[in-house]
């Protein structure tokens, strides 16, 4: 038998956030190598956070990712507030959730319409898609704009909001300020429902995740800005116990560090959140999930686009609920007195669980910082998906198989900019 070898290489992955490459080697019908390489340069956030004040991580760490700055601000605030024993007044906690809803709407609309849907409909990008489906792309942009409007209205701006501080906000809006936003969100709810109906009609290749799923759990409501941790394997733990369960390891075949949960690969993100919390979805989102054919769990990464659509509905419903019940809080922030302590903070970034840990000294200066972004936790599963997708479609030619591999990566909405500051970087010359 003659030996055959196929190499699939995409040196610059498109429609993902950040710079990554795909490398696949197939020898004699076996997947020998399937790697998502990171060549995004490291930026050393954990190093230069040392010596900074406890008030600074929300602004500094938001700059790790322009797509999910609110996630960084929130996990940072959660960690520092925990260290200092501060608890947000309930109305302030609701505003924090509202701001985060804006990021979910905007980030998910970006991913569904501009990054992911072109895969299902066979276009290189949303602009090409708009030539034949202008109304659809306009709907996506209107939805994304509504998410940005939430962040602009409460946060001051959509990318790197300026109104977030440890303990709450610098300023809380007056009751009438949210009125135009509420109108925009009511229209957005219709657009979100249409989105879920639209993506449910796509064709989804078969793939079933076998790994454990890890997501936050927030009793009685869908987890976004806070919660404790839960897995589909039945494990439950607090944010402070996160380092005891999740460890990062270097794997020989990859340049990236892979996180494991009690020694096993696992996945965070929309599939994990949905599978662990579908019972807590608000009414319209729950109905839309059922109409879209989702069961109580969803383990097909290609269907993540449907879960994202359901989560947009959830975020719009939640934003409207918070705005409709809004009274201006008595104070914009609670007092946070720094002390020598360590705090752990988690929240659900649009693409998965984001963990921060800060060790403070008695003057409120940071002694050490650890940040574990979702994409770093998901890399091992993404590469595993790649292997399985390739193995199941070896009959396809190189171009189709490469395109399918890129789709398998985009399913997880990887944010390489986030991952880079902690992934090792080395370029292999072969």
């Amino acid at each position: 038998m003659s030996h055959t070898s196929r190499n699939l290489v995409v040196s610059g992955l498109a429609r993902v956030e950040g710079e990554g490459a795909l490398r696949v080697t197939i020898r004699d019908g076996q997947v020998e190598q399937a790697e998502l390489n990171i060549y995004e340069p490291p930026r050393f956030f954990e190093a230069f956070l040392r010596g900074r004040s406890y008030t600074e991580p929300p602004d500094i760490t938001s700059r790790i990712c322009g797509i999910c700055p609110v996630a960084y601000q929130t996990s940072a605030c959660n960690a520092i507030e925990q260290a200092c024993g501060a608890k947000l007044d309930p109305p302030l906690a609701e505003l924090r959730r509202l701001l985060y809803c804006g990021e979910w709407i905007s980030s998910h609309a970006l991913h569904i319409y501009l990054l992911h849907a072109p895969d299902f409909l066979g276009y290189p990008d949303a602009i090409a898609m708009a030539r034949e489906h202008r109304d659809i792309v306009e709907r996506g942009l209107a939805l994304k704009k509504a998410g940005n409007a939430v962040m602009e209205s409460l946060g001051g701006r959509a990318i790197h909001p300026v109104n977030v501080r440890v303990g709450g906000f610098y300023r809380v809006p007056g009751p009438s300020e949210f009125a135009p936003l509420a109108d925009q969100l009511r229209r957005a709810l219709e657009l979100a429902l249409e989105t879920a109906r639209w993506v449910a009609t796509f064709d989804f290749p078969d793939l079933e995740l076998r790994q454990d799923l890890l997501a936050l759990h927030d009793p009685g409501r869908y987890p976004i800005e806070r919660g404790t941790l839960a897995t589909t394997g039945g494990l439950a733990f607090t944010p402070s116990e996160f380092p005891g369960h999740v460890t990062e390891q270097q794997v020989p075949h990859s340049t990236a560090l892979h996180a494991t949960l009690d020694g096993h690969h696992y996945l965070t993100g929309p599939l994990a959140r949905y599978s662990l919390n579908s019972g807590s979805l608000p009414p319209a989102a729950r109905q839309a999930a059922a109409d879209a054919g989702l069961g109580p769990q969803c383990r097909n990464p290609f269907r993540s686009i449907v879960v994202r659509a359901v989560e947009i509905i959830c975020a719009v419903e939640e934003a409207l609920r918070i705005i409709d019940g809004y009274h201006r809080p008595d104070r914009p922030a609670v007092e946070v007195t720094p002390c020598a302590a360590t705090g752990h903070g988690v929240s659900e970034a649009p693409r998965g669980l984001l963990y921060h840990r800060y060790e403070l000294d008695g003057d409120g200066l940071i002694r050490s910082a650890t940040i574990i972004p979702p994409t770093s936790q998901n890399l091992a599963v993404i590469e595993n998906d790649l292997r399985r997708v390739i193995a199941a479609h070896l009959d396809q030619d190189d171009a189709s198989l490469t395109a399918l591999c890129e789709r398998a990566i985009r399913n997880h909405d990887p944010c390489i900019s986030c991952a880079a500051h902690f992934l090792t970087l080395s370029v292999s010359h072969r």
């Binding site: 322009g66 001051g156 500051h421 090792t424």
Partner: protein, 257 residues
């Protein structure tokens, strides 16, 4: 007549400045009427070869590979515009310029020997000639559209090199420093955001970097009167534009562990 071609590039950065282009929701679908989007990996898998009429570059130079890459980008670009604090000042990752990169690497990575990085983070203009630098962390959407429109029309972009204070006054806001004693970097910070922070009852934190007439020592005295200590004053200048001329002298004072 063929449409001018547009390319968007990313170096060390957070993606936020190129996302600003996608955040132009009202204009995005009219863009193909005026430019051909030839290279924009974040948005499209269709990549056209150069040369390009306009290149937008996000991010700073932190690796030998990117130092090579920017030369090629410059070669292929008729007009090169850098967007954001990383590309125009080195970004927050330029804090390494004041520290020890070997120690930084060891602090973050288990196997520092695999890390391929330069000891400094530098703006694009330190490597190649740049036709226009648009400031901000992130850049402002309206300013981005103004710069694109101006270069497409062959005119100079109308981006005033003045302070945030001028915008704040124009908006009719009460000065947070004078009225409340809130430390504010508005007097030294480049305009462009629309004085967002004072609108949120917060002092400006300098994310657009210094404007050319910034008098940082004078402001430092004012910040001291607002109750800030020397370490805190050093820290506020040592953020997203830490290595920008004007802020760099102050950033260097910051005690690093």
């Amino acid at each position: 007549m063929t449409k001018p071609s547009l390319a968007v590039w990313k170096l060390a950065s957070c993606d936020g400045c190129q996302l600003t282009l996608l955040d132009c929701e009202d204009e995005l679908l009219t863009l193909p009427g005026v430019v051909s989007i030839a290279h924009f990996l974040e948005a499209s898998s269709a990549v056209q070869p150069g040369p390009y009429d306009i290149s937008l570059v996000e991010g700073s130079i932190t690796t030998a590979r990117d130092a090579e890459r920017i030369l090629k980008i410059r070669e292929q670009s008729r007009i090169l515009v850098t967007i954001g604090a990383c590309a125009t000042a080195g970004g927050i990752q330029a804090l390494r310029n004041f520290g020890d990169i070997a120690e930084f690497t060891a602090a973050v990575y288990a196997s520092p020997e695999y890390i391929d990085t330069l000891a400094t983070s530098t703006p694009v203009a330190a490597h190649v000639p740049v036709d226009f630098e648009l400031r901000g962390c992130p850049i402002d959407r309206r300013q981005l559209l103004e710069v694109l429109t101006a270069f497409l029309a062959g005119r100079k972009p109308g981006i005033p090199d003045t302070s945030v204070c001028t915008e704040c006054k124009r908006e009719g806001r009460t000065c947070v420093m004078v009225a409340d004693g809130t430390p504010c970097l508005g007097p030294v910070t480049h305009a462009g955001c629309g004085a967002l922070c004072p609108a949120q009852s917060r002092g400006c934190y300098g994310c657009f970097g210094p404007f050319s007439g910034a008098n940082v020592p004078a402001l430092a005295g004012q910040l001291r009167q607002c109750g800030m200590g020397d370490d805190a004053i050093s820290r506020v200048f040592a953020t997203f534009n830490a290595a920008a001329p004007g802020f760099a002298d102050r950033s260097r004072d910051e005690p690093h562990q």
